[in-house]
Symmetry: C2
DNA sequence: CGACTTAAATTCGAAAAGCAAATTAAATTG
DNA sequence: CAATTTAATTTGCTTTTCGAATTTAAGTCG
């Protein structure tokens, strides 16, 4: 597109390549990018000079001839920058600090007041969380180059605008700007559902794939899409509302106010509601405990609980099949932290789903379950910010 | 990406720009692409010399000062190439011949034997159709630079491989190669559902949008997606099976053998089946007539017919809402040739759909109905081939 | 152990591509 | 018809990249 910045462009390209392929020798960079060896040498020299990458000795491999001048691996210089990622949930915040190479440096969790908060109050909590996080790594807030923030709700990532979030007491808040002014650090805001996809793409199972879908189930149902190697966000910043996909005409009531949403069948509150109201089970108040009760009962053969859980499984399989029919991805990742929903991740669901997709003489997409800890959300947020820091760093490189 | 071809790259970029923006003066090209005026002059000189574009006098406009040296518009030179597009249906073939500027030069329709044909027989029919088409324009088959072919079924466009098609009596046919060998012309194969999206993107309502969805209803339900300005095809060449999206658990039987597919509620055969079996209407044999009967009855208030049609509408609205919830597109185009399905394109359906999407403080996507003639499929096929011809032509340009 | 082989990385001169500034071209205006 | 305005082109220069030759850092062999 814009010419006149060619050098920046090739620097960016090579930095990306190094970042994605981990330690890689120059000759492979030339091979993969189509840039000549001479140019690779000169551009990587710039990146080395700027401290963005570093040389590491390459351990010998069986499949490589040991003769000739040995290859020298290049990798991202971890020490170049610090990037924080954080996810705000209902009553807590989890934070992670990564180095420029994506390696965990520190992590931190802290409680925040439950419910909707005024934007500047939330910003203050985030600031204190980040300060603590930095301290754990023996650094200060000022050492952090950028912060990625994941928020539930409807978020326009491009403009840092929060249309609506369960964490904020106002609508249409330019929370990205608010936070940036507050912290004095570059802030990149995103919907938390996208973070999962981001984390899988950068660190997880999606690394090797260019088209995949990530589904998460916790109290709601989240989804992220990577299409053509890029996170797809939709045009209004509210794409991928998989949980509010309709699976039944005039069906069960969803907390979003509509009927027949997938979430209204498979989310925790839905299971509990159904088991108690229709099935007549008497359940304790906190939803998380009640869910456990229902699931345990189902496993031990209680017919009422079984019915509820079975239907949830079938609905989930149907929703999944619809996604696969529409996208035809290479891979579907079911990602979750608590395995209280493992019944939805079971082989029977996957089997059911496979039966509902259009058959052709090519294998159906892989469906894999990826259990992870709750820091993965924060890592996704950091990965999102990391991309921007990479670009900024490349642009800031001075010429020799 | 690949350097060492920079000149080709800027030629390609400018040719694309001219092709998309219609007649456009050099100064605007410089403005829009970020390429300097000097370079635009030199690159367009190459394109002119190669006969790919031409200068046309610019008519004066009210909003432009008439002073100074007048702008000279550049446009694609129509005469540079001929591109054919064709769509194979059950018992017929429609063909269109476009010039390099996308303008219709000739069109043609012909019958082919009904049902599944051996690949080489179908290739022969295509050859004869193309020969007739060329003749209508006073040209010969050899004058055609490339042919785009749309086939129903599951098609891997990239490899020209047909996994399965109702038009072929074999599976996994490399029909692209078969046809190319037969004709001696470059052949680009694609699924017919994608052609609709291609046509809308190149000639139709999608011109101004980068993310939209096109839905077609005839005997089946088709869908094409344009995401980020590009046709999205999925990874196995069978994405966008919107018609086999499930809208009801264990629902109506679809001709694909599964249950609860959207198609099983809204396609022509589904309406007729339901009206006759459940509703007790007695209907004549050809589906197309029977559909008309049902729809007419519904309009004149027949309660049975009404029920059938109403449910179809609701199911369609639900399927549409699911798409919007997942993709969050700018625009949804309902494209159709026969308006026998206009009840599904009615305002009530659109209204119903709007109620089922997640609400945020931004307007819902536009939903528009685009009626078109059956040549539009063939035009989409030609548009697909046209892109390749453009690229090939640019690469073939010799240096001064 | 030193000459030879192999393969990666670097250097160097040349070529390509693009740009800014200056110039030319083609129109209107007064 | 001279002045003005704006588009397009030309010119000379800079930046960027590449190919080929060279250097470097190993292993191998006699």
């Amino acid at each position: 597109m814009a010419f006149g910045h060619q050098k920046v462009e090739s620097r960016r390209l090579l930095l990306r390549e190094i970042s994605q392929r981990g330690p890689v020798p120059r000759i492979d960079l030339a091979e993969h990018t189509g840039i000549s060896r001479a140019t690779v040498t000169s551009v990587t020299a710039d990146l080395l000079r700027g401290g963005l990458i570093e040389e590491v000795p390459r351990e010998s491999r069986a499949d490589e001839s040991a003769r000739g001048r040995p290859r020298v691996d290049l990798k991202i210089a971890g020490a170049a920058h610090l990037i924080a990622g954080l996810k705000v949930s209902n009553d807590a915040m989890s934070l992670v600090l990564l180095d420029f190479d994506g390696v965990d440096v520190a992590h931190h969790e802290c409680d925040i007041p439950t419910g909707r908060l005024p934007p500047d109050i939330l910003a203050q909590h985030i600031q204190s969380g980040l300060t603590d996080l930095a301290q754990k790594a023996g650094r200060t807030l000022r050492d952090i180059s950028a912060v990625g923030v994941g928020l539930a709700g409807v978020v326009d990532a491009q403009h840092g605008l929060v249309y609506w979030s369960p964490s904020l007491n106002a609508r249409n808040v330019p929370f990205g700007d608010v936070l940036q002014d507050h912290l004095g650090i570059a802030v990149y805001l995103d919907n938390d559902a996208n973070l999962v996809a981001m984390a899988e793409m950068t660190f997880g199972l999606g690394k090797a794939h260019s088209d995949f879908i990530v589904i998460t189930i916790e109290s709601g149902v989240g989804m992220g899409m990577v299409l053509g190697g890029q996170l797809y966000r939709g045009t209004r910043g509210c794409g991928a509302e998989f949980g509010h996909t309709k699976v039944h005409l005039d069906g069960a009531l969803c907390r979003c106010g509509q009927r027949g949403c997938l979430e209204a069948y498979i989310a925790d509150y839905a299971l509990v509601r159904e088991a108690s109201s229709v099935g007549g089970m008497s359940l304790t108040t906190p939803t998380s405990q009640a869910v456990a009760t229902v699931l345990t009962a189902a496993k031990s053969g209680d017919p009422t609980a079984r019915k509820v859980v079975d239907r949830a499984s079938k609905m989930f399989a149907m929703g999944l099949a619809n996604l696969v029919n529409i996208f035809d991805p290479e891979l579907v990742i079911l990602a979750g932290e608590q395995m209280q929903f493992d019944h939805l991740y079971a082989d029977t669901v996957i089997e059911e789903m496979r039966k509902s997709i259009v058959e052709i003489d090519k294998p159906a997409p892989d469906v894999v379950v990826h259990k992870w800890d709750n820091l993965m959300w924060a890592r996704g947020a950091a990965a999102y910010a990391l991309e921007f820091v990479q670009d900024t760093a490349v642009e800031a490189l001075e010429d020799a």
